[in-house]
Symmetry: C2
Subunit: 395 residues, 2 copies
Amino acid sequence: MDAEKTQLTRLEDVIEKYLPPNELLKVKRILFGAETPVLNIAEKVYNLARERNFELRAFRFPCPKEQLRPARLVRVGVIQNKICRPTSDPIVEQRQSLHNRIGEILNVAMMCGVNVCCFQECWTMPFAFCTRERKPWCEFAECAENGPTTLFLKNLAAKYNMVIVSPILEREPNSDVIWNTAVVISNHGQVLGKTRKNHIPRVGDFNESTYYMESTIGHPVFETEFGNIAVNICYGRHHPQNWMAYGLNGAEMVFNPSATVGELSEPLWSIEARNAAIANSYYTFAINRVGTEVFPNEFTSGDGQKAHRDFGHFYGSSYAAAPDGSRTPGLSRIHDGLLVVELDLNLGRQVKDHWGFRMTQRLDIYGKLFTEVSKPYYEPQIVRNFEEKKSKSKQ
Amino acid sequence: MDAEKTQLTRLEDVIEKYLPPNELLKVKRILFGAETPVLNIAEKVYNLARERNFELRAFRFPCPKEQLRPARLVRVGVIQNKICRPTSDPIVEQRQSLHNRIGEILNVAMMCGVNVCCFQECWTMPFAFCTRERKPWCEFAECAENGPTTLFLKNLAAKYNMVIVSPILEREPNSDVIWNTAVVISNHGQVLGKTRKNHIPRVGDFNESTYYMESTIGHPVFETEFGNIAVNICYGRHHPQNWMAYGLNGAEMVFNPSATVGELSEPLWSIEARNAAIANSYYTFAINRVGTEVFPNEFTSGDGQKAHRDFGHFYGSSYAAAPDGSRTPGLSRIHDGLLVVELDLNLGRQVKDHWGFRMTQRLDIYGKLFTEVSKPYYEPQIVRNFEEKKSKSKQ
């Protein structure tokens, strides 16, 4: 693939390759925060990942011990992957190929001891919304509770004792309304519930409002055996108040399954999910798909360019950020990958005890302000110097 | 000074020194966004800065032309500096020495064509709040409207045709209440108004709640001849909703005058003000003081360490971020500096037209949620699997 030749594999690799060790340490501290040591995973597991042609990287977020609470260690996995078949193939084959691909990666996640695993946005399909075509892409939508993908994963979740977060295109059975949804399956194989995309983009290739509306089911947090989790789907990462809502509802880990391309968003990628981890004292996981997806019919990107059949390179680079602002290196910009992170949920409260952002955030005044601003005739608090204006207009 | 020997001067310098040109370009794009070209400043001005022993750096944020609106070019200056005298010197001399220092830097800012200039937090004094002593530090507090510092700057503002943002420790004349305040002086030398710190830290050396309370005067935006400006003082940068409030009131540029040290916050520094620029489609300016300040009496940092007389190295690194997520390199981590940025205010609306975050932000639901959460018995939206819990407890 073209991208694999011209694209940078990973920013961190370049820095590590060229910087002398002493400078590297300082630069990494400023860029990435406290060190995230490599997590020990058996060599045979790495070999299996290599055989299956995906990158496996594993890190630890260190966390001090407490006196009263035992450590609550959790291993989280996030998976980024390309689509496996041309977008013109029959839908059932495209979907099956992705089920197979995720199956083999998830199997390695299990060997890494992963407790909670999340995939990329709309993982069972190409990100076809750039086409503005409803056919055949709407056929990928399926029932959150009983669709083929959920049934497939319920099995694996129980077998692997793993909570699975599965972002899919959802079709509501009775209304046929379509949603951008994440299904949360418990480690006993039960559907705990679902959450939906709260903020829908209307930008460039991401005119997704053609397909689905904003969620009406709030900001649910799912209590699992491995901590309280929430899912902020894709474009919601640009909205700090959305991240904050999950924190207010008690999330300890927030996944951000995404699909986004280089020219549009890459300089924002390393900022937003990490800022959310800092501002809300929880763990965040930014997950982006990878590769280039080519569609049967030409479409516009709404950017004044000629019609074309792909919308550029999904740059992967999935990463995790901790409440203290540190982050792991990213997965590759060009390859499928599994990122495994061992973390202690206790760090969230420790950071709250240290920084106190929840104590100092004055939610009441912002609740009032946001409500006022939403009204039709909000008068912004602008200070104008009328005296100066007057004397100026007299000149 | 010790720090000058052991500290890294600037992250960007290290990367530029070691990376080959082709890799450097790619790494910089991912790390910093669209390139910020160097702004042309006469060599004699650089020489003057060198003579006066501070770093001068100047950049441009590029912005496409529009058909209907002419470009609204503005030059913004931010200044970071060390204190000039030992903290045990008479207060009037400490303050005078800082007036002199800022005077000579501001003079160079004028030569650079700066239209709006902002200094660091509490710029007329050492950041003495770590001591928890009220005496003599409260004596630095002065009247926002008519104190010696404001009188000094009103003169310069009119003379230089420059809007000046002056963060000081304020004493209210009638009540003797002390505030952490920024005074905004118009380019005609009039006090446009003031704004106060909205979020007060209680962390480590920054137990500032000993000295002043949270602002009660909202999130004012100041309409000036060079654009609408707001000031988010220091610790407010950790609160995304605070940044957002200034945007909702129409800010096009938000200054973040700060005082913060390495071990505490440095990995957060490059994230927060930049995330705010992205989320709110405005320009942000993160300004930190520089150097190490030693106090007459020992104090605790509230971190279990021995009592000591300084609280580490203020790491400077002041920078500017644009609505498109790009940022300038930072000023030095160890030297006084003036950063000059030429920008086009039009970029804010262009980015809003492109990304549409204001359109998609759904403020009404967050207004309601934040208000609910502020009430005494908010029930978080948590999904629990009671069936699983029951069967588990039976095991």
